[in-house]
Structures are given as C-alpha cells and as structure tokens.
C-alpha cells in the first residue's frame, strides 16, 4: 500500500487520488494495519471459549453491515433482516447438506459455492421485497417488513424437510475449503482448534464484506442511497432513479444477511427455526444503532459489543454482589443482559446518536487537537 502523505502533514494531498483513497491518512493506514494484525493473532492469544463469542460477533457484523446498507445508508427501515438471515442459513444448509440425509440436501461441499449461493438466494428474496419500499416509507415500510419475519417463521416451522421442524432443527453447513475442515478440532494433535480456524474464516469474510461495503458507500451507489435517505424529491431531480436504488439497497443488504446466516451456525453445527424471530431483527437494529448508523467501523464495534454482552453480564456477579448467576434467583445476569439491551439502545439514541463510532470520533478529535479544546 502506498502512503502518499508526508509525516506531520497528514492532510496535505498533492492529487485527488490520495485524497479519495480509502485510507487517506497515515494514521488510518497504520491503525487499520495494527487492528488487522491484532485480530489475526487473536486466536493464538485468547482462550477458545472467548474466541467463539468473538467469532460470533464477526458473523453478526457481516449481517449488520447489510442492515446498515439498507437502513443506515439508504434510509429504508427494515425489520425483516432475520428473514433474510434465515433464507441464507437454510440455503447453505440445503446446498451443503447430505443428499441421503433426513432433510433436503444437495451435497455441495465446496464452501465458496454454498456461501455465495446463500447470499444470492437471500439477495433474490431481497430484490422481490424491494418494490414494497418504492410504495411505502418509514414506519409503514417497517411494519410490512415485520410481516416478512412472520411469513418466514411460518415457512420454516411448517416445512419440515427444509428445517427439521420447530425445536428439532437440522445440521448447519460445515465450512470446508481445500482440505481444511474448519469444524474439526485438531487441537489435541498439535494443530489448530475448531474455534481458531472458524475465527480466521469469519475474519477473512468480514474483511472482504467490510471493504466492499465501504466501497459501495463511497461510490455513486452509496451517494444515491444517501440522497434517497436525506431528500428523495431532490434525489429524483438529480437523476437518481429511486426504485432502482432501493432495489439495489435491499438486494445488497439481503446478500450480506444471507452470507451471515450461512456462517452463523457453523460453530454450533445445528440450528432451529425459532432462531429467525423478530428478536434477531431487533438484535441487528440494536447493533446498527449502538455501533453507528451509516458507518462500517461502527457496525463492527456494535456487533462485537452485542456479542460480548452475555459474557460481560456473566462476569458481573464477581463485582456486583446482589447480581446472581443462577437463573432461579433474582436479579440474575440473564435478566440484567435483557435490561442492558434496552438501556444501551435508549442511552445511545439519547446521548450519542452516532453510536460507538461517534464516541471514537470524539476521542480522536480530542487527541488530534490536544492540548487545545478545538
């Protein structure tokens, strides 16, 4: 990577190419490189149980990036994200499933194929739903997309050949690439454990997803999204075809959701149709709100925080004497976790609408101008 700006003058640009680069200051370049190195080394430093949680956070981040594209960037509120995640999860499970097994399966072991398939089928559903958004706005669109979740639940509950039925479920797609079986534990023979391998896999997919999302956001597509979100009449007069871009937004968003769904149950290896409920949609909305609307880095921070929330709550009884770790006593950590969800959403909306990204932005600005206040 070329670093075009001289030390000490981070905002001196001698051509537009430097100015428009994704990492247009040395601080950003070095910062992102450091984060990537730390993330890549994390599986060697962190215990496997925490790694599972963090890996889950990375997958959530992929899905949340999708929601942020349609809701954060393009301003189309969607409560139906769980449906698209479900479509992705089942597509992957069917494509990679055993053809002679109890449930639908095509026996396609090659991971990129079923990962892409999950994204594409989900994207197809997204494209079919998108025309609704051209007729409805705001709250009305939210209610209609909410309906999707219930249609999805009905479908997944009743179609037993696909899903295994409620409370039974079916096996998830097993990631396997070039002879590396990500879900096989080789820790005891001196190899990598399942948790380590999955974390690296999720990290790789997330990095690709995040860079692509950032690229879309700064392209003419992303500008058109923002134009539709901020002023749709003016967007039309600028020559932005509203219908066209709403369809693109929903399609892209659903593709991300599908990919996230395909990977979401790799670690547990099994999933039931109950997973794709309204609660999951709300979880994604919480990630976007807490992380930062229309930001990529914020989305990733938000997803990690939401993923770590149960663990944080679980550690609390050691510090907070009245909190119990047993579900039969009150107040317990599980109740606390539920409450934290709500409190975080309300607190961020009230005090920092720009989310974790906003907090980071303020810290950065403070140190950039230190010791002056602005």
């Amino acid at each position: 990577m070329t670093i075009g700006t001289p030390w000490g003058r981070p905002e001196l640009y001698t051509d537009y190419k430097q100015d428009m680069a994704l990492l247009n200051t040395r601080a950003k370049t070095l910062g992102v490189a450091a984060i990537l190195v730390v993330a890549a080394l994390l599986p060697l430093l962190v215990a496997d149980d925490l790694l599972v949680i963090l890996g889950g956070g990375l997958v959530l981040a992929i899905g949340a990036l999708g929601l942020n594209l349609v809701t954060g960037y393009a301003g189309q509120v969607s409560l139906g994200h769980a449906f698209f995640v479900g479509v992705g999860a089942y597509t992957a499970a069917v494509m990679a499933g055993d053809p002679d097994g109890r449930y639908l399966g095509l026996g396609i072991d090659f991971m990129p194929l079923w990962l892409l398939g999950a994204g594409l089928i989900a994207a197809l559903f997204g494209a079919l739903v998108a025309p609704l958004a051209t007729r409805l706005r705001g709250l009305y669109l939210a209610i209609v997309t909410l309906g999707l979740v219930f249609i999805g639940q009905y479908l997944f509950f009743e179609w037993n050949d696909l899903s295994g039925g409620p409370q039974v479920g079916r096996e998830a797609a097993k990631p396997e690439l070039f002879g590396i079986e990500f879900t096989v534990d080789n820790g005891f023979k001196g190899g990598w454990t399942e948790e380590q391998k999955l974390f690296w896999l999720f990290l790789a997919v997330l990095v690709i997803a995040a860079v692509a999302a950032r690229n879309v956001a700064r392209s003419r597509i992303g500008r058109a999204f923002a134009a539709i979100r901020d002023r749709d009449v003016a967007a039309g007069v600028m020559g932005v075809n509203l219908t066209h871009y709403k369809v693109i937004a929903f399609t892209l968003s659903s593709f991300y959701a599908g990919v996230a769904g395909a990977l979401m149950y790799s670690a547990s290896g099994h999933f039931t149709p109950e997973s794709f409920s309204l609660l999951m949609s709300v979880q994604f909305i919480a990630i976007v709100l807490i992380g930062g609307v229309a930001t990529v880095s914020g989305t990733i921070m938000g997803a990690l925080l939401i993923a770590l929330l149960p663990r944080i709550a679980g550690e609390l009884p050691a510090f907070v004497p009245f909190l119990s770790s047993s579900a039969s006593e009150h107040p317990n950590v599980f109740e606390f976790e539920q409450v934290m969800y709500g409190v975080l959403i309300v607190a961020f909306l009230l005090f920092e609408p720009r989310g974790l990204f906003g907090i980071w932005h303020r810290v950065r600005t403070y140190w950039k101008s230190f010791p002056f206040s602005y």
């Binding site: 537009y16 190419k17 428009m20 994704l22 692509a212 690229n215 879309v216 700064r218 392209s219 003419r220 597509i221 992303g222 500008r223 058109a224 923002a226 134009a227 979100r229 901020d230 002023r231 009449v233 003016a234 967007a235 039309g236 007069v237 600028m238 020559g239 932005v240 075809n241 509203l242 693109i248 892209l252 229309a294």
Partner: protein, 272 residues
C-alpha cells in the same frame, strides 16, 4: 445584456399554453413562453401566482392537464424527474433541498450522478473503472468548487454551513449536472445584500462564461430588473405580460397585478 425582445440563437425551451389545476384551483392557466440560448429569463409574480408550479411542471414533479413543454425539441410531458434530468434540466429549490448529511463534495458529486456510468459490481470492488471515473468526475467537481469559491467548505457536511453558502452549494450541485437549461427557484431568498450581490455575480458568470440558459423565479425586484434579459409576469396562474425589464415595468397590466391600482399611476409606481 441583450436588448428588447431579442432571442440569441435557437430556442432552448418552448412552454406553450400549459394548464395545471389541483381540483378547482388553477395553478397554471394558459402560460406560454420560450427561452433562447444564453438567455436569462425571469418569472415574477405575487405570492401564489404559480411560479413554483411552472418549475414543478418543467422538472416533472407535476403533470399538467394540457399544454406542450419542449426542451431542445423533446417533449417533457409525462416524463419523470430523473428522465428530465437526463435531458439536461437542472434546478435549485426555493427551500434548500440539499443532502444535509453529505459533504459539499458529495453533494456536488451527486449532481454528476447521471454522467457517471459504472455499476454496482464495479462499486463493490472499486478498481479500474469505478476509481478512474470517480477521479475524473472529482476533477470536474473541483472546477465548480473553484467557480463558486467553495474551497474552504469542501469536506464539511452541508447541514453545518451558513444559509448563503448552502444556497451556493445548491447552485453548484445544479451546475455539476452540466445542464442545458438551469432553473433557479428564488436564488437570493432570505439573503442579505452582500450575499445577494455575490449570487447575482455568479448568475451572470453562469450566463456569460458557462453560457447556460436560465429561468429564474425571484421576488427581489431590484435583482430581477438588473440582471434578467426578459421577464414573464404571472398572476393567479395567468400570464400578464412578457418582455424586457423596461417593457414590463411600463406595462399597465403588471402594475395592476402588483399594486392593484389604476394604470394611470404607472409613471410614479414603476420599480427602480
């Protein structure tokens, strides 16, 4: 400035006998005019006269019940705003309609939207075509930044900028579309004297340097009489008079529309 009634070159816009009504309200009632190349054409009239409705018909937001509207010979009737934008019509709005969360640069780049051709997959990868096109159009946008002296605000979200600057950014966004006809809806509304004079200078530069024909709706009579080549006066959706500033000021019908008075007082009451 061009002289009485002369239309330089060919006709850019033909607006013929347009009728637009909302229920019983006749917003535009048989208005007709033409705009020539390099011409700065002004539409004036009291509040509610139908000036903004004329603009909304032109940019495709409203659909008239009757009439003909042609831009360079192509009929605009029944076309949707993006299609009309592609034909080369750009506009600014009376109440600023900028994308408040985007920077000045991004707002101007949105003006270039229809000139940028790459698709979603190119955008996802951001190599080759997407990057080259973005660079090329950034250079064009920088020419407008230069023209309108917006350098210091380039990277600020427009929502944070002062009103007068926002008006200028909106003009820039319309210019970025490389219009063949530019519609200015009250470009100096709410501006102080200094900002008004700046804007007048930019408008004259657009006509004389960029040679873009314009239609301007404005309430500031001083400005209109100073810079417009020809003026259309409307009242209650009906055309009252068309002509040069001097002709319009002497027209008894115009004075009646504005002052409700008798034609005899024309001599004393004509605006400066």
């Amino acid at each position: 400035m061009s002289t009485a009634g002369s239309i330089a070159g060919s006709t850019v816009l033909e607006f013929e006998d347009v009728h637009l009504s909302f229920g019983a309200v006749k917003a535009v009632n048989g208005v007709g005019f033409t705009v020539g190349a390099d011409e700065l054409f002004a539409v004036i009239g009291p509040n509610g006269a139908g000036k903004t409705s004329i603009f909304n018909v032109l940019s495709g937001v409203y659909r008239p019940q009757q009439g003909r509207v042609r831009l360079h010979g192509t009929s605009l009737l029944g076309k949707r705003p993006p299609a009309i934008a592609r034909l080369g019509m750009a506009r600014t709005f009376q109440n600023i309609e900028l994308f408040a969360n985007l920077t000045v640069l991004d707002n101007l780049m949105l003006g270039r939207h229809q000139h940028i051709g790459y698709g979603t997959f190119a955008a996802l990868a951001w190599v080759g075509r997407a990057r080259n096109e973005e660079l090329r159009h950034r250079r064009r946008v920088e020419e407008i930044v230069d023209f309108l002296e917006l350098e210091q605000w380039r990277k600020l979200p427009v929502g944070l900028l002062p009103y007068g600057v926002q008006k200028r950014v909106e003009l820039g966004r319309a210019l970025a579309m490389e219009p063949r006809l530019l519609l200015l809806d009250e470009p100096v509304a709410g501006m102080n004297l200094e900002e008004t004079e700046d804007m007048a200078r930019y408008i004259l530069d657009i006509r004389d340097e960029l040679r873009i024909p314009m239609i301007m709706v404005e309430h500031d009579m001083g400005l209109v009489m100073d810079i417009a080549d020809r003026i259309l006066v409307v009242d209650f959706g009906t055309p009252v008079a068309t002509g040069t500033p001097a002709e319009v000021q002497r027209d008894p019908a115009v004075i009646r529309a504005y002052l409700g008075g008798a034609a005899e007082v024309a001599g004393e009451q004509a605006p400066a």
